[in-house]
Structures are given as structure tokens and as C-alpha cells.
Symmetry: none
Subunit: 213 residues, 4 copies
DNA sequence: GATGAATGAGACTTCATTCAT
DNA sequence: TATGAATGAAGTCTCATTCAT
């Protein structure tokens, strides 16, 4: 078709990758905006590809959802390492990390997983993985902050992860022009984690508590 | 109209009312457990009535959802008045109220309304009403607690209502055997509302902020 | 409940009859206005009775439809005898009869029978009966008019009956404020039945042609 | 774009078009035979496609109905131009046109539109259009015939269109083996339009009378 | 690889009819 | 006898997924 030395074969890959990325980005927004049940065709339309293309990349809705989550977590981990590596101020690093999590807006997609899947959660390897990695990331910060008396000692890293989930979802309940409200509430929660609060009921949250939630 | 037994006239009505109640109760659970999209037939089956009966009582899924919410809010308001009437200890009353809200498990149904309806919310008169009534209920408590120095003064009753929403939904993300975790986090948030926290970004949440959220 | 010598028992029958009549009248209108498929409940509502009452009087939709038709035909036959008895002017009587048929507005209901029932027609005894009676009524008029040279001789009474059906349905296609149009077209058809027209294709319509239409 | 065979590019489109055509043809018959309420699935089955395909082509029953009508009117206009162009005998052309209308069997579908839509009619652009086009087509014929004394002068083109509607629907009331009856009655009506008839009541039908019928 | 038409299972909703009061 | 609540079959429509081009 063309006389130039075919630059096509390499391009193909690039196009496909670009499609894949656009689909994930579109799906992320669509899941947040219209719920986990958005018609696949709407996602395809948003990404400006045919449904067929969407299905070539992701076997079914579940697979797409997992990919969206994985992509989000990837971004989260990248970002968070920047915040936390070589932290000399563990409490400050913890705070920045929490604020970042909220800003990434993963909440909508993550909480979309809830219905019917309390247990299906476990089957999504990416999630368990991410929690594990997040635990490893946060644990030194939590301990460090507690040792320095910057943080109450009756909460665990497990509590932190669940609280982050709460804030992240909270953000997604608000319309875009009201996001500033979440920022206030993030700070309130962080203040609640400072030493000097009242007694907390029950034991701290541990890794094993994640097995069923 | 009279106190006499009068057994005959109101009979069938009673059956119908019982059905209506069972449908609402079943739907409440179903919405929480399987999401807002549960097949209507499953709800009907759970309530042990035919689909037709369900539809005689509620014109469509939306109507049922609204009824479930209205019923929940009714319970909430009843309960909350018990907690807050004649309160001599505003902060204590506020805390008990928050804990109660969480225990009532309205969160699942309420947050089920989110997708596609950030603004449709307004059209659900019951919700706007309830927020207004809640505001009126809480405002004296918040002010009272703040006047006595029991609560930070840079949060408003509007913030409180949104925070309650957050906790209430948080509770519903957890499986039944992990509810105790929420109780811990409720206390952390309450601690964060005590005086002495860091500065909060943005203005306090006011009534007008509800118009779009 | 009352002190007067109970006038109730006799009233009951009267009430029931009144209900029956109201149902038929309402159904007649409803069939014409909303088609043969109107919800039974709508008919009941229009007649201001419960569905149950409707079903006590008429076993099912079909039965109601037949009753409506029978009532209409009854009125038609009554009226038409007034027009045609002792007629000394057969053509004039025929014309008056045709105009009356149209005015009675049976068309909607009659034509409602069409779909799916080309043959079911035969099963509705009332219809076959009525056609037979109409035939007996009109035959002398047609023959009389033809003998006097007032009417073309290449049409039969069978043609007349079918033409009347056409005009009667025609009337029902027009909205109420356009009924006057039908009156014009009735006259055009009657003019077309006068002697002197062009040749007509096919044989005249006979009784046996009704068996399948 | 080119006259060359170009076998590849338009292929699937052809299949889709074939499906669309078959659906319309099947629906036309089904509407006539079983009424406007035929199950969509039956139409799909008749056209040998899945329901989904039917719905991909036509958003709902209404849309399908409109398409059927549009297709019918298209055929009608094509055919009628053949009859009427360059007519040197206006009355003869008018007669041939009327006979053609009846033969095309559009009546069933057109009259299926009646219930509940006396006014909705206007919203079906195709219908209003067609009436307008038909008016323009017939008007010269009517005037020509009247000027030559071949047609009574107290009827208008508006009357003609409504009469055609009557005959067209009339044809559809009869079973297939009785179609010959309509042909007789068409001639009777045409004879009634000849000069010399009795006086007609009311004014002639004008364009403005269509606005509400 | 991309496309979008076709498919059919399944959810939603309506209504004719029954039945307990 | 009248009532209207309950039932469930049947029809409409949507959408995930497949597949021919």
C-alpha cells in the first residue's frame, strides 16, 4: 500500500498498547461514575474502540476490572515509594501517604468490588498482594511514629490500611466539586490517630483479619 | 378510631401491611448484601411473595429503594431522639448518636444510591428532609459541645453529617464478623473531633454544600 | 342499621344490574378509545367497581367483549326496526338505516374483533345471528329499491352489509370533532349504489361469503 | 464511489441490510395478520433473526412500526408516480391510483396506529409528509377531472385522501380469499364520486382538517 | 488486530385472573 | 355480592459475549 519501508509492524504494537491504556483509563472513570455495571459497549465507545477490541484485550468484565485495579495499585505503589523512602519523619510520611491515596481516586473502583464478593476478593491476587506490599511499606512508618510518641499506640498498621480504605471510598461518594471536604476529614482522622485519645474497643486489626474482608 | 377490638373491618389491610413490611425488610438486606442491582424476583422470593405483589406495593426498583431508605431514616430519627432529647451532656449525646447511626446499618442502602445520581439525590425528598431534620437535631449538640470546649471549633454540623455518612458506609464494607473494627474507627474519628487538632483546610461544610452532594 | 322496613334485598338486584350496565358502557368506550387490549382494571376503574365485580359479571375479556357487542347490536336492531317497519319507500329506509348504523358507533368494538379472529368470528354466535337478522331486515328493502329502479341491480344485500361495516369502522378512525366527515362519505357511498354506475368486478356477495370473514 | 466491483469493503453491511429488509417485510405481515401487538419475538422468528438483532435495528416496537409504514409509503409513492405522471386522462389516473393503494395492503399497518394516537399521528413525520405528498400528487387529477365534468365538484382532494384510507383499511378487514369483495366496493365508491349525486352535508375536507385526525 | 452485527439469556414490568375477606 | 390484594405467565428490552469480515 505504501512505498516506504514498512514502519507498520512496530506501530501495530504501539497502537494496541495505546488502545489497552485508553480502555483502562476509560473503564476506571466509567466504573467510578456509573458503577461497576456500566455496559461494556459504553466503555468501548468512551475509549473509541469497538467492543471486539475491548474483548480482545480483556476476556470479560472481571478481567477488565482487575486490570483497572492493578493499574491503580501500580500507580499507588510508585507514588508511595517516593513519599516514604528514606523517611526521617515517619509520622509526616504516613500523613503524606494517606493524603496521596485519597488523591489517586482508586476508591470508586475498589469499592465497586464489594457487592457479592466478600470472598471473591481473595481470588483477586492483585488485591491481596497490594495489601501485603502496603503493609510492608507502612509498618515501619507506624512503628516509627509510635516509638517517637507521634501516634497513639493502640492502633496497628492493619487499622491504618482499613482507615485508608474508608477515606478513599469516602472521597468517591462526593461529587467532584466537593472533593475539598474529604481533605478536611482526612485531617480529622489523622488527628484522631494522635496520642491522647480515648480507649478503643476490641483488639487491633491484624493481617489475619484481612482474610475475610 | 375506637379502642374497642373491632376485629372485622381492617383485616386484609393487615396482611397487605405485613407484606409491605416484609418486602422492605428483605429488600434492605438484599440491597446491602448483593448491591442495588439484585433481581427483583430474588427480593420477592426472600419476602415470600410473588413479583406481582412486590410491584403492586412499589412501582419500580427506585420506588422500593426510596421506601427502604425512608423506613431506615424513620428508625434513625426515632432512635436518635431518644439519645438526644434533654441531653445535659452534648458531647456525650453526640457520641452516642454517631454510634447508633453506625449500628443501624443504613449505609449499604444509602450508598447504593450513588451511581448516576449525585444530583438525583435532591429529587429524593426523603433524603433532603432527613438531612434537614438531622441538622436540626445535631446543631444544638455541636454548638453545646463546642461552647463547653469538648469539641474542636473548626468543624460544623455539616461536617458531622458527612462524617457520619462516611462511618455508616464504612461499616457496610466490612463483613458481619468484622463489625467490631468499625467501632474502633468510630472512636478514632470522635477523638479527631476533640479540641487540639491541627488546622483543617477549606471552610466548614454548610447547608448549601448539600445542594450538590 | 336502619329502622325502615328493609328495602335492601330488592335493591341488591338493581345495583348489580346497574353495575353490569355501567361496565358494558365503560368497556364499549374503552375498547374504542384504547383498543381491545385495555387493562381490565382500567375498565373496572372507569365503571367505578372493583375488578372482582367485573369478573363476577363477565368470565373473561372475551365474554365482556361479546356482551358489549350484543348490547350494541340490540340497540341497533331496536332502532332499525323503527326505521324500516312498514316502509313504503325502501330506498329511503335503506339510507336512513345506514346512517343510523354509523351514528351508533359500534365500529370500534366490532373491528376490535378482527385481529387473530377471522374464524373466531363464527364462534361468536351473537355476530352470526345479527348478520342473519340484518340480512332479513335489509333484503326486502334492497329488493324493493332495485325493483323500483332506485338502486343498481348488480349489488346484493350481502354487499350492503359489508359496506355498512366499512362505513361504521370508518367513522371510528376519525376523532370526535371530525365525525361530520363520515356523514359526507356515507352519502358518497349511497350515491355509488344508485343505478347507472360502471360495471362491478366479481359476483355479488352472498350469505355463504360470510362464513369466513 | 467507483463503478469497479470492489467486492470486499461493503460486505457485512449487505447482510445487515438484508436483515433489516426481512424484518420490515415480516413485521408488515405480522402487524396486519395478528395486530399491532404481535410479540416482537414472533416477528424476529419470522425474519429468522434473534430478538437482539431486531432491537439493534429498531429501538422499540414503535420504531419498527414507523419503519414499516415508511417503507410502505415509499412503495406507494413510487408506484403512484407511474400511474399519474403525464396523465392525459385525470379521472382514469385517479381511479387507477385508488385501486393501486388498495392493492398495496398498507391498511393494516396504518390503521394499527390508531389506538391512543389520534394526535400522536402528527408526530410521525413520515405520515404527515406522505399526506402532503399525496395531496400534491392528487390535487391536479381531482381538479382536472372536475373541470372535465368527470367528477362531482362538491368533493375535495382532502375527501379523496380520507376515502382512500377507508378503502385501504376496508381491504384489510377481509380475509385473503375475500379480497375480490373490496374491488367491487372500490368501484362503488368511485361511482359515487361521479357527477350527479345528491347533496353532501358539511364543507369539503381541507388540509387543515388533517391536523387533528 | 480491529470492527460491529448477531445472538440469546435474563432482568424488568404488566396484567389477566383467582381468592380470601 | 363487592372488593382489591396476590399470583405468575408472558412480553419487552438490555447487554455480555461471540464471530464473520
Amino acid at each position: 500500500m505504501s512505498t516506504a519501508p514498512s514502519p507498520v509492524p512496530a506501530r501495530r504494537r504501539a497502537d494496541a498498547q495505546r488502545n489497552r491504556d485508553r480502555i483502562i483509563a476509560t473503564a476506571h472513570l466509567a466504573f467510578i461514575r456509573h458503577g461497576i455495571g456500566v455496559p461494556m459497549e459504553e466503555i468501548a465507545r468512551g475509549a473509541e474502540v469497538g467492543v471486539g477490541t475491548l474483548y480482545r484485550h480483556f476476556a470479560d468484565r472481571e478481567a477488565l476490572l482487575r486490570a483497572v485495579i492493578a493499574a491503580g495499585l501500580e500507580r499507588l505503589m510508585t507514588v508511595s515509594r517516593q513519599e516514604t523512602d528514606h523517611a526521617t519523619d515517619p509520622w509526616g510520611a504516613l500523613c503524606r501517604f494517606v493524603r496521596r491515596c485519597v488523591e489517586l481516586r482508586l476508591g470508586g473502583t475498589l469499592s465497586a468490588l464489594r457487592p457479592r464478593m466478600a470472598q471473591a476478593m481473595k481470588e483477586i491476587a492483585e488485591l491481596a498482594d497490594a495489601r501485603q506490599r502496603m503493609l510492608e511499606l507502612l509498618d515501619p512508618l507506624v512503628r516509627g511514629a509510635q516509638e517517637r510518641g507521634q501516634m497513639r499506640t493502640d492502633v496497628s498498621t492493619g487499622d491504618m490500611i482499613i482507615l485508608i480504605g474508608m477515606l478513599v471510598r469516602h472521597e468517591c461518594e462526593l461529587t467532584e466539586d466537593k472533593e475539598w471536604i474529604t481533605r478536611r476529614h482526612v485531617e480529622i482522622v489523622l488527628d484522631g490517630l494522635r496520642p491522647g485519645g480515648g480507649e478503643l474497643p476490641g483488639p487491633t486489626v491484624t493481617l489475619t483479619d484481612f482474610h475475610h474482608d
